[in-house]
């Protein structure tokens, strides 16, 4: 059944939550500045609650089932995070309070900066970026400013592997950098020959995702970084795939200069239907002065009787402010809670089980689906969603049919270097029975592709809506409810 919108539900004169009458004398409203009407819906509180509850039931979510969306790390979002981030001591704090009254928040941020620096092997961290893409923007700004600060104005070229996330080239382009695509070799690693040819004094840096979006750890990572550094460039690490490396490998140890984290992937904070994310950026020693303004630091050392005083510090050569206030604090509380509960042991366990789950699935599926790079994978892997004997069946059809089996589909059509890609990331929080059920569904679908291909072409069949007409949506743009209230 089609769910009416809040505008359909509106009845003139109906009231929801009400507020007390003014307890102060009435002041005249500013004439000439008043709006004539306020066309927002009128409904009872219960009608609103039923509406939002009802539409929520049309969503698939981690709390409902397996969500193997490659590159998104859809792991369990612990319920305790929702409790700690809502503690009044965190939720009811204004960002401009005197620092003496926010020492709890500042302590948590200071500690989280240190935890993330320790986990990934870096000297400094900013928690300010709102999401991965803003982390990338921050990181590339730092790289650009580092070069200009040294007088290297000609360094404007950013090398980006063909397997990279789309945000990588988009972030660099926003800053006027020239994007130079870098091919992968036949094992899915960065092509070293091509890399050497592109490294000269115009090189600003290289954006490296490792493990890359094929789920493969670049076997030559140390060599790649050495080549870039020798040419005077810096290496940016896209930390979207850190879940494979927790407690196993620190990108900073091998010479990565800048790295962003996605707290909403690696550190269990919820994706919220598209946000809020959080994309802290870690840097090595030489880039610490360029971090965004402000970072959290100790502004007065403590002693035996007195705790240190935490406050805000503007890094000496800061790129500046990148958003209001200090970051997605509520998300930071969740990540802090998670890391506190895992510790070194738990972080390593998470990475190991994520990689174990991915390799188990890869092994079970690779006979039926083409695995273009047949190696031990990290936390995810990419299959081809196509078969030469049924050329009409595409990755999209397989993805849609999976919904009928109550699974969220893998990421499809990414990375671009694999035709009809199906990118599968099971995460560590799934049990073996779930993985086995997913394998059964994938094998069944491969069979259906031969016996009843129309079943796939018409899929999904059992979802709140059938395939949506995206062409119509783009052609006859309807971006706003047209119902007139009153």
């Amino acid at each position: 059944m089609t769910e009416p919108t809040i505008f359909d539900l509106s009845v003139p004169g109906r009231k929801g939550v009400t507020f007390p009458e003014p307890d102060v004398p009435e002041f005249a409203l500013p004439e000439g500045f008043l709006r004539e009407d306020l066309p927002i819906p009128e409904m009872s509180e219960m009608d609103a609650v039923r509406h939002f509850t009802s539409i929520s039931q049309k969503n698939y979510a981690i709390d409902l089932g397996f969500y193997p969306l490659g590159s998104c790390t859809m792991k369990y979002n612990p319920k305790v995070n929702e409790v700690t981030s809502r503690l009044p001591g965190f939720a009811s704090v204004h960002p401009l309070q005197p620092i003496e009254s926010v020492q709890g928040s500042l302590y948590l941020m200071y500690e989280l900066q240190n935890m993330l620096a320790e986990i990934a092997g870096f000297a400094g961290v900013t928690l300010m970026p709102a999401a991965g893409a803003q982390g990338e923007l921050t990181g590339t700004l730092i790289i650009k400013k580092y070069h200009t600060d040294r007088g290297d104005h000609q360094r404007t070229r950013m090398l980006i592997p063909d397997s990279a996330h789309g945000t990588n080239p988009a972030s660099s382009a926003m800053l006027g950098l020239d994007i130079v695509p870098l091919p992968s070799d036949e094992r899915g690693n960065v092509d070293l020959v091509a890399l050497r040819e592109l490294c000269d004094d115009r090189l600003a840096g290289l954006m490296l995702t490792n493990p890359n979006t094929l789920g493969l750890f670049d076997e030559n990572v140390a060599e790649v970084i050495k080549i870039v550094h020798e040419a005077g460039g810096l290496v940016y690490g896209d930390g979207a795939n850190m879940n494979a490396l927790l407690g196993v490998f620190r990108p900073g140890d091998v010479g990565i200069d800048v790295l962003h984290f996605n707290l909403h992937k690696t550190f269990s904070t919820p994706h919220g239907g598209g946000g809020p994310g959080s994309g802290p950026v870690a840097v090595r020693e030489h880039l610490v002065p360029f971090l965004p303004d402000p970072v959290v630091g100790i502004i007065q050392e403590g002693d035996e009787d007195q705790a240190p005083l935490y406050g805000f510090i503007r890094p000496e050569k800061s790129i500046g402010r990148i958003k209001t206030f200090y970051g997605h604090f509520g998300v930071l509380v969740r990540a802090f809670t998670y890391i506190s509960m895992l510790g070194q042991e738990g972080l390593r366990d998470a990475a190991e089980k994520a990689v174990l789950n991915a390799n188990y699935l890869q092994e079970k599926l690779k006979g039926t689906y083409t695995l273009p790079y047949d190696r031990i994978c990290m936390h995810e892997f990419v299959l081809e969603g196509r078969w030469s004997d049924v050329p009409d069946i595409h990755a999209l059809d397989i993805a849609k049919r999976l919904m009928d089996y109550k699974f969220h589909p893998p990421t499809n059509y990414f990375p671009l270097i694999v035709p009809e890609a199906l990118m599968i990331e099971p995460t560590e929080t799934e049990n073996k029975e779930t993985l086995d059920r997913f394998v059964d569904a994938m094998l069944k679908i491969a069979e259906e592709a031969r016996t009843n291909p129309q079943l796939l072409k018409d899929a999904p069949h059992n979802t709140p809506i059938r395939r949506a007409d995206e062409l119509k949506a783009a052609r006859e743009l309807m971006l706003c409810c047209s119902i007139d209230l009153e």
């Binding site: 939550v17 809502r86 320790e118 709140p464 007409d469």
Partner: protein, 449 residues
């Protein structure tokens, strides 16, 4: 923690993969870097973690314990219970971006409703699915405007009465465009809108003002809009959504872009984030808007459906040619704002807007009658935030108020050296007359000698 594998599971899975132990899966990682020793505190159980976090949180003072007149971009409004209760449905908060419409209609419909509410509040034609916050929405407006003129217009004018953090963020975002001039917010231009209007010319891509402005003032922007449009420039207005319960929407004032901080719409203060940047334009700029858009369509059976649309503008398709690098939006925060406006409805929202206005005016009037204090800009109407000047340095004043459990407001000298001894106060519906009288009593005790 949170991994379900039994020893038996691991054995069976390793055997199936064809390796002996889990470490064998990490052989491609250079050996000298493998398994670093991390200096982290020992792990905690859930019970211990909650106690630890409660302990950390208790070191903060909150707006529940203190009487707070802080605003300056974040406001302490009452959030109805239904908002957070619905946000905690796992179907909403543990879902990803709605790339698969067949199983994401909940998120998609909520965003569609959010876009519709923002259009109606602001009087604009098209709203996107949100930006990170007000400051990044402001930066996106500058990017949109410079792109709109294909970088041929080299000047962007920002009002000095635009939130200083927005102006800082814009400058960070645009710092690598060496030929772009960002002007208008210097001390010499000042906060008189006339001086800003005088700088508009045919090289101006965008003029950005705030409504009500950073000081809470309701400024008549008619002449500014006319001058900008006569010069072919775009006008962006950063607006406080609560004020739009009463005030003429920016769309009716001629704004080409309306943006702002959506935090007042049911989002907790949470020490500065996550908040919500909203962003809306007139039809003429529809194809220039960055970020996600949800559109209405039908499914294969002709049933009403919602999808992400015009995705060809976005980074995952266009890569370096995308109009912005933005990937996520503030999904759950847009949902909070949508639920907030729905449960308040027209009546409740107008009440909040009016209560803020009335109480702020009572507070301003009371303070202005205290010896040693004056209310600044007395001839200009204001909404729920206003500036007072004291004969005392603001730091002393704030300390005195803090001793009486009051967060007195925002010290303007931080950003405006010319506004010495000036304090900005915000008043929301949560503040009672009694609270205001208490504030005035404490202010009355201040020694001005």
């Amino acid at each position: 923690m949170f991994t379900p594998h039994t020893i038996h599971d691991v054995e069976v899975m390793l055997k199936s993969i064809g390796v002996e132990k889990i470490e064998d899966l990490f052989q491609e990682i250079p050996e000298q870097f493998r398994y670093p020793d991390l200096s982290l505190a020992p792990r905690l159980t859930e019970m211990e973690a909650v106690a630890e976090l409660e302990n950390i949180a208790s070191a903060n003072g909150t707006t529940k314990e203190f009487l707070s007149f802080l605003g300056a971009g974040a406001y302490d409004h009452y959030i109805p219970a239904a908002v957070d209760n619905l946000l905690q449905r796992g179907e909403f908060y543990t879902a990803y971006t709605p790339y698969q419409p067949e199983i994401s209609q909940g998120t998609l419909q909520a965003i569609f409703e959010f876009q519709s509410l923002i259009c109606r509040l602001t009087g604009m034609d098209v709203s996107n699915a949100s930006h990170y916050d007000g400051a990044t929405a402001a930066a996106e407006a500058v990017i949109l405007a410079t792109g709109h003129f294909r970088n041929k217009r080299k000047k962007v004018l920002l009002s000095r009465a635009l939130n200083p953090q927005y102006r800082q963020t814009i400058r960070t975002y645009m710092q690598t465009d060496g030929s772009l001039q960002i002007l208008g917010d210097d001390a010499e231009t000042g906060i008189d809108i006339k001086n800003l209007i005088a700088q508009i010319d045919n090289n101006t891509a965008l003029v950005m003002v705030q409504y009500p402005d950073f000081f809470g003032r309701i400024i008549d922007y008619k002449e500014l809009v006319e001058t900008a449009h006569a010069n072919g420039a775009l006008v962006a207005m950063a607006v406080n959504p609560t004020a739009l319960g009463l005030l003429t929407p920016p769309g009716d004032l001629g704004a080409d872009i309306a943006l702002g901080e959506g935090q007042p719409l049911g989002i907790p203060l949470s020490f500065g984030g996550p908040y919500l940047g909203f962003f809306a334009v007139k039809d003429a700029l529809l194809r220039k808007i960055a970020g996600r858009l949800v559109g209405q369509t039908v499914d294969a059976e002709g049933k009403l459906a919602y999808v992400l649309t015009l995705t060809a503008r976005e980074q995952h398709i266009r890569r370096e040619k995308a109009s912005s690098n933005i990937c996520s939006n503030q999904g759950l925060m847009t949902l909070a704002a949508t639920i907030y406006l729905s449960v308040l409805g027209k009546h409740g929202f107008r009440q909040v807007s009016n209560l803020c206005y009335q109480k702020a005016h009572y507070a301003a009037e009371q303070i202005s009658s205290i010896h040693g204090f004056e209310v600044m800009f007395p001839e200009t109407p204001f909404f729920h935030e206003f500036v007072i000047r004291s004969e005392q340095p603001v730091d002393e004043l704030l300390e005195h108020l803090l001793d009486h459990d009051i967060f007195g407001g925002y010290k303007l000298e931080n950003d405006y050296p010319e506004l010495q001894n000036c304090l900005m106060l915000a008043v929301t519906e949560k503040i009672s007359r009694e609270d205001i009288d208490y504030l005035c009593n404490i202010l009355g005790e201040v020694d001005h000698d």
